[in-house]
Symmetry: C2
Subunit: 412 residues, 2 copies
């Protein structure tokens, strides 16, 4: 039955498609399916006991505060801790540069709200994080894209895209979602320089930076920008807004992320956040602060790195063992994902239907491409399954690919 | 120092004013000030021990689930509990009619996002909840207003405002914020009838409905609409979207609210929520469910009603004792607020400066009026101070008003 509400949707939402991430996350719930689909950290590695201790401590010591309204910007001790953490990498950030958000997704939404007029262009990697496209399409953004290779954004495409006049550049320099690719140091420096030359600000999204399994930590764009501009010694006021989150290092069920930026931009984003959800849960903020402080977070991240590196290696080994030779993939140095390419004319969406029938799930790559290309690509998450399940799941997927390839290339 | 970000704000945010609620909430933090400003529940009444027990139980029994990503719509047991609660009032609501939101503020924001085009009108009470104005002004809404008297919305103004073609009607029928006024049963019925006649849907915001201190519970608009239309027996599909929250019955620091509506509208709002913050904290949802279930919430609300009724009575008695006779106010039957009117030409914003100097705070009424009127009005919160502090604070405020009135009307 139609109601008075049904035919009153705003123009901006009338084209709203069935939401891809959500539909995909649903796949992970079916019993018996081994899922490499969601961007899920390993639930078996959540520090549950640390959360139990911290929850009790916060409620016992500061229960009335934890359960009351708070300020939009976030709880000061948490903002200070995040500022100290960030300052370790060589830029001077204070609590006033930090806005706490309800997950990184809210940070993306607030940036769309504060900066994007309908028809504005955002320069994004091709492919790029689906949630960002979803957040900004709600503000009627359009996209300029720059392809990726093994060293990240292709600089030969970047200059042309910058001439298209984007409002800002969206970059995921570390173990990018969905491809797992990392932007090289030389390209980071060049990106910062080119962006400054064209007068275009950068949004650096870094959910995975701490989850590096091989090689050395590379300086973030926010650090390189501060160096390049000679700013950031006293307080941060550069061209880069930086996003991160506790979702991959502590737990996504908290919904805690943050934006680091110049003070006046943080203030404007906080005004937008106030209208969006007033503030992020006080209790959750105090809880994360209590769990993360005193070095626990660093120690926990070391444990995650060790465990996730083994899972990545298990998946790579299983892919070598079980996938037909015509499938190709990369070896990510960190993060959550391996990116694979099927031989033509195999299509990943069609393959997914067969895979689900065989009790294994992944994410087709095409929704990560603003132009809808990438039909042969798929994203595999290696962090949310134990090594045995990884082998079983990849073996199922290998059989499905081989069978589908057999259909496409029938024996003579 | 200007950055590349600073001059790139979207048109919609360039007129963004300093955020009134946030600035006001800051007043409540100054040491020594007795604050009747914020819409804060009594922190001394938070069921901290129940939260401690529940937090430990949830993490122990379902820690991995509580800390992992969840679905955008919300945790099913919580949605089912809210559906059962709502169905007690005579309409058939299921979990599919419920969307969990990150506080009621997010519900207001999502409704703006899904329904409001720039220039659309919303019909609101005059005065109305400031947070709603803030949420919808971000979508460039405009307002048609209907004045209030002791029985709520004035029906003589309603028909004219409906002819202005609002996208929807926003009503706070119970102990309205800011005035504490309740819409009478007769007017509720007439509002539902008139809205249907004009084909205009209703948004019913009910954060305080359970906090009634005198008289009988009145049926909600969602119930009356279902009765009027003869719908709602099997499943809800009426003209009213209904909002509520745990902020006033359990704790605002959770940031947990919900929208009840027809299934297709809930689905569309969930799509918008996915782009906004993916989902509300899994742990917080399970925590609230664990605390609220098995009758605890009902028992706790009975305790709140008892304590808040005493605080309301203490404030009313103190106002009678300490305020000059030219000040007038209402006697709210529930909720958190008393609404007072100063004698002309006293101005509440000017008075606030003097009040802060005298260590007492309130909220001037004018930001609650979309047209900026109401200069003589002020809102007093009676739930977040003990009876002794209420008497001391009101006595301070009485002296400030008397002194200000003396300045305005000098002795002959």
């Amino acid at each position: 039955m139609q109601t008075r509400w049904t035919d009153r949707y705003a123009l901006r939402t009338q084209s709203m498609k069935s939401s891809v991430i959500r539909d995909l996350l649903k796949l992970t719930d079916e019993p018996g399916i081994i899922s490499f689909a969601g961007g899920l950290p390993g639930a078996d590695l959540f520090p549950i006991d640390a959360f139990r201790t911290a929850a009790d401590l916060v409620l016992r010591r500061a229960g009335a505060h934890a359960l009351q309204y708070s300020t939009t910007e976030g709880e000061r001790p948490l903002r200070e801790m995040i500022a100290r953490h960030t300052s370790r990498y060589g830029i001077a950030v204070t609590a006033d540069n930090v806005l706490i958000t309800s997950g990184s997704q809210q940070a993306l939404d607030l940036i769309g709200r504060v900066f994007l007029n309908p028809g504005d262009h955002v320069l994004v990697e091709r492919p790029t994080y689906l949630g960002a496209l979803q957040a900004w399409s709600a503000y009627q953004a359009e996209y300029l894209t720059v392809g990726l290779d093994a060293d990240g954004m292709r600089l030969d495409e970047l200059a042309a895209a910058l001439r298209g006049g984007p409002k800002f550049i969206y970059a995921l320099p570390n173990f990018q979602n969905p491809t797992g690719v990392t932007l090289s140091l030389e390209r980071r420096q060049e990106l910062v320089r080119l962006a400054d030359e064209h007068g275009i600000p950068i949004l650096e999204d870094d959910p995975y930076g701490q989850l590096r399994y091989d090689g050395e930590h590379l300086p973030s764009l926010v650090t390189l920008d501060a160096e390049y501009r000679g700013s950031g010694k006293a307080s941060y006021s550069g061209n880069v807004l930086y996003l991160s989150t506790f979702s991959k290092t502590l737990a996504p069920g908290l919904r805690l992320g943050w934006i680091i930026g110049p003070v006046d931009v943080v203030r404007r984003l906080a005004q937008a956040k106030q209208g969006s959800d007033l503030h992020t849960s006080t209790f959750i903020q105090l809880l994360a602060h209590e769990v993360a402080r005193s070095g626990f977070l660093d120690a926990h991240v070391r444990r995650l790195r060790h465990a996730y590196a083994r899972r990545r290696d298990a998946m790579l080994a299983a892919m070598t063992r079980h996938f037909p030779p015509a499938v190709s993939w990369n070896v990510p140095a960190g993060g959550l994902f391996i990116w694979a390419t099927l031989p033509s004319p195999l299509d990943a969406v069609t393959l997914l239907e067969r895979a689900l029938a065989a009790q294994v799930a992944f994410v087709p790559g095409t929704p990560f491409f603003p132009d809808g290309s990438g039909q042969q690509t798929l994203r595999l998450n290696f962090t949310n399954a134990c090594e045995e399940a990884i082998d079983t799941g990849i073996s199922r997927l290998g059989r499905v690919i081989a069978a589908a390839a057999g259909d496409c290339f029938p024996c003579p």
